[in-house]
């Protein structure tokens, strides 16, 4: 792929101020990440709670100021762009939020919800009622849903309404924060199929934020694994799944319970809790939980690159027995 990236994130940091008036300090929710998304590509940001993935998504969408770095969308630098100058770009980039029902305004009908982007950005003489029917059709909901309220929808239906609203203005990029959160497994498949279908039909690029690796596996072309606000591994989804190189990625992949009672579970268990962002570990920040950690890991930050690890795993590596660990 040689097309110019539609989105490029360059060494972005997001700092949150903490402490009182005197002891001012800042913690880094996102601590310098870079990636690019090309037209038609799906990029997944994977990580557990507190990894900074949602903060990064909000920063890309301009809902969160960044403290360092640059975000370029369709060739335009968008970080620090004021609300007024950002507005026209919002036609091209839409965001879907985690809670399928909670991200829909409770007193608005589905018809009003899906056509809200037109009300904000102008409808150019289009009949909004027809648009609502068209959009509902696109996401596989019957037209009579236009009169319903969010609390009358199931999670899956509400998610479809969210998708319809996100594609209303024909965006080039959709950022989807946990698109399958809170949905039943049978419905998760429906939503992912819908996203895939729309992506192909409309040529969308997508950034998907999730902690659910199964979702990533089936929809993403490339993925990045986040830990404490940094990327620990970036790569093609298939490659990462087949042979994770960072111990954290390997642990995440192994932590996926599968519905097969007889499957051998050679799981990599992570000791200790996720460290606080207030007191980041020295050297490689994963060393406090890494089963393979060595003396060097606590002393020196890992090399930059697609895998930030001093000792990347070879395929099929097993963690050393527990007793050997320091």
């Amino acid at each position: 792929m040689t097309a110019a990236p539609i989105l490029s994130v360059d060494d972005v940091q997001v700092a949150f101020p903490v402490g009182g008036l005197l002891a001012r300090d800042a913690i880094l929710g996102v601590a310098g990440v870079s990636f690019e998304v090309r037209p038609g590509e799906t990029f997944a940001l994977v990580g557990e709670s507190g990894s900074g993935k949602t903060t990064l998504a909000r920063a890309i969408n301009g809902l969160q100021d960044i403290s360092q770095g640059a975000i370029t969308f369709e060739g335009v630098r968008i970080d620090g762009l004021g609300r007024a100058r950002m507005k026209p770009l919002r036609r091209r980039m839409s965001m879907m939020f985690q809670d399928p029902v909670g991200s829909l305004s409770p007193r608005m009908t589905v018809g009003d919800l899906v056509t809200e982007p037109f009300r904000i950005h102008g409808h150019g003489g289009r009949n909004l009622r027809d648009e609502a029917v068209r959009l509902l059709n696109l996401v596989g909901l019957p037209a009579d849903f236009a009169g319903r309220y969010p609390h009358q929808l199931s999670g899956g239906q509400a998610r479809r309404v969210g998708v319809a609203r996100a594609i209303a203005l024909d965006p080039a990029l959709i950022i989807a924060d946990e698109p399958t959160a809170g949905l039943d497994v049978s419905v998760q498949g429906e939503v992912l199929n819908l996203l895939n279908e729309l992506r192909e039909r409309l040529g969308l690029a997508m950034v998907i934020i999730t902690h659910n690796l199964h979702v990533v596996h089936h929809v993403a072309d490339r993925m990045a694994v986040m830990y404490l606000g940094r990327f620990v591994e970036v790569g093609e989804t298939g490659t990462v799944f087949a042979a994770p190189r960072h111990p954290y990625t390997a642990a995440l992949l192994s932590a996926n319970p599968e519905p097969d009672p007889d499957r051998a579970r050679d799981r990599i268990t992570l000791p200790a809790e996720v460290p606080s962002l207030m007191s980041r570990p020295s050297g490689c920040e994963f060393h406090t939980r890494c089963p393979w950690a060595q003396a060097k890991c606590a002393a020196m930050p890992p090399p930059a690159g697609d895998v930030s690890c001093h000792f990347p795993l070879s395929p099929g590596a097993r963690p050393p027995p527990r007793e050997d660990r320091p």
């Binding site: 809200e116 904000i120 609390h151």
Partner: protein
Amino acid sequence: MSEAVSSPPARTRSDFGRSVRRLLREPLGLFGLSLVLLVILGAVFADLLTQWDPTRINPRDRFLGPSAAHLLGTDQLGRDLFSRVLHGGRIALYVALVSTAISLAIGIVLGLIAGYGPRWLDNLMILLFDAMKSFPTVMLALALVTITGPSLTSVILVVILVNVPGYARIVRTQTIAIKSSEFVTAAQSMGASTARILRVHIMPNVIGPLVILASMDIPVVIAIEAGMSFLGLGVRPPTPSWGSILNDGFGQIRETPWIAIAGGLPIIIITLGFTFLGETLRDVFDPRLKGRG
């Protein structure tokens, strides 16, 4: 995971219609509604219900007890009390309606600004609301009347000053809670203007509970009007007001109790009516109970 019980198959019947039907099925709500309607109808059709002029002085008919001709008797100036009570209802309802509507409008605007605006503005406005609230109503009324003189307008002004801080605070708290919800963030992400977010996404979610609350405040408003008129700070004689009727009867409550009763009874009726109605409305429309059954 939600349950079958909490996510019934969608129905097309409107929520509002359902709520009204439920209201009518609650005996207390129905009772409250009847009392309120009784007073409203009495005030609206006052001229049809009695042929007596509420302000006409009739020295020969002073202190007449209740009879077929004068249903509630007459006062010390020989005026028909039934007619005065019905016309007093007009004053009471007018004050209640106008001042509540104005208080709501001002309260909503101030509350939205405080809740959605910058932190310093919020702090400043909270300070202002608290300062306003800390004035005793009677002092506020006296102070205002010294400036403007006793009139219906000063009654309305006092009610507004008393009500606005409370309403604004409620709207502010709700706004703060709602502004961090995902649907507001979603609207921001779509590029909606602040005005649109306040008008379309926040206000509709604030206004329902507030209106119900305001309906429960109406008895207080009526009591303020009656109280001020009782003290001679409100409606000027000879205009009838429940408060001034009460005052007329207060001096001779032993000799001619019907005068005080004529002034007090409607206050009791309207207070009970609006309280029962408001409480039932709250139960029926409370969003937390929505979707049940």
